[in-house]
Symmetry: C3
Subunit: 217 residues, 3 copies
């Protein structure tokens, strides 16, 4: 089915682009908040965008990395970092976390599905494959926050994020088990992760936490 | 000597189990202290338990990782993270660092010995092999503390920990040099690391430090 | 040209030695400031000296690491960490960041050139190769600061550092493009990175930053 392969490959490219932009913007926001210089903005954007996928590929011993195969993204990142510095000087420029949470949810779905897919293709156990999807989707943000000297948001804000990637990954595993077409399994997995994330954002649902901490913070 | 091989393999499994539980519990304690959510608890437990061994395997270019070979541990970690959240809600639940320092000392010995063994099997220089044992034993805790936004305990508390792994590793190297049986070298190395750690804990011995810092903290 | 090869190899060794000592000393300073114990000093020195090159080699899937090939450096690091603890006790001992910024600039040039060279030898795209040089030169310091629980200096102090490595890397790429001899390209690239760094230090030049932050810190 060359047509489906083409669609999948085109979807992959679109997915990666959307996810990379959303993840890089989350890095930009974090870097601005920490008053980093232009080098810092570029590094934190790069970690947020490519850190999760790169860590997944190091763990899976997989080469080339996304940014080696598509080096144009490195230029885009550097250009965005430099542009951000100059835009920031006109202090009217303002954009918020809220604005990027929708493309970010799309990125979450696509990384969860593609991470799980790549790991399953290496015959890894299902739980490992699903966690590779979670790593792809979340560790960019975790590395971004570690370098910014914060406890990572993904580990403490009680908003479902990694959990949505986890659920989406299992949808992919089940799809493969039931011998759906790879494209259908991929799409449904990504849609599940993105959908549960959007649902959680809209409903304000919070994960259980040990003790109520809202009053202390 | 198939019997000895069997004993070694069984010992390895038992060792890894004890070490993993102790290391994961240290992650759980750190995560609770930082008020992480359920995802954060699972990630920090996973880093504490598997981070050191996984970093060692990445450096040695060795696959599969322990948690890929034994994926049941991933389920145990997730179950423990979820259970901890619910146990914490009944606020009577209390457990302390002190309670896990003995199984943790056991883990220290076993990781030091097995890390050194794996690196020596790759014909690496003795000092590199010993440091691979130290990395296995300590970097789980270091990654745990970095993600929790703390200066790692292992680097500043002046309690011998990495030093015990270092001494144990050299015992293994000497054992191999003197052509002891691998099992005997392994056991003696692990016992040395664990024993020096237990001795340090019981005696309150502190490593030399540049200036006396106790009065300032 | 065996003579040139010999010169290059000898230069490489000298370069690595100077860079390692300067980078390790920056780790020592950071560790002392954070009141780490002797283990902490050794770990932070090791991260500062070998972290950048090791991360580059993990990303390039390249073995053996520098410190596996030259394990004597591990002994030097450990000896330096132990010596530092005892020197610190005689409180007259004092040395400053300023004293190491010149050998550090030399290290910057040499790591930028060698990182770019190693990546180009793997046929990676030019921008990736240049960034591998930047990673070699800067990530030791970034890992040092992350472990010391600081936002990395390289990302926020607005002093050109990564930028100098970036410029030097491009000189190497251009040199190869114009088929200069590898030795000439290497030397000119390293000299450019070191020279721009020294120029920036002497002139007090600062990178553009979003908003003026000097008054707030």
């Amino acid at each position: 089915m060359p047509n489906q392969d083409l669609l999948l490959s085109w979807l992959h490219t679109l997915v990666e682009a959307t996810a990379n932009v959303a993840f890089a913007l989350s890095g930009l926001l974090a870097g601005i908040r920490k008053r980093l210089d232009v080098v810092g903005l570029c590094v934190v954007m790069g970690l947020a965008a490519f850190g999760g996928g790169t860590l997944r590929d190091v763990l899976l011993d997989r080469r080339p990395f996304f940014w080696v195969d598509h080096p144009v993204w490195l230029w885009i990142l550097i250009a965005a970092g430099v542009a951000a510095i100059f835009l920031l000087r006109s202090s009217h420029f303002e954009f918020t976390e809220r604005a990027i949470q929708w493309p970010d949810a799309l990125g979450l779905g696509l990384f969860a599905a593609s991470g799980t897919q790549l790991a399953l293709a290496q015959q890894l156990p299902a739980i490992v494959a699903v966690l590779m999807g979670v790593v792809s989707a979340t560790f960019g943000g975790i590395l971004r926050d570690v370098v910014c000297n914060e406890i990572p948001t993904a580990l403490r804000d009680r908003r479902p994020y990694a959990v949505c990637a986890f659920v989406g990954g299992w949808v992919y595993v089940l799809g493969v088990q039931f011998t759906w077409s790879p494209g259908a399994a991929f799409l449904l997995a990504a849609a599940t992760a993105t959908g549960t994330r959007v649902g959680a954002l809209l409903s304000g649902y919070e994960l259980p936490s040990g003790r109520d901490t809202r009053s202390h913070e």
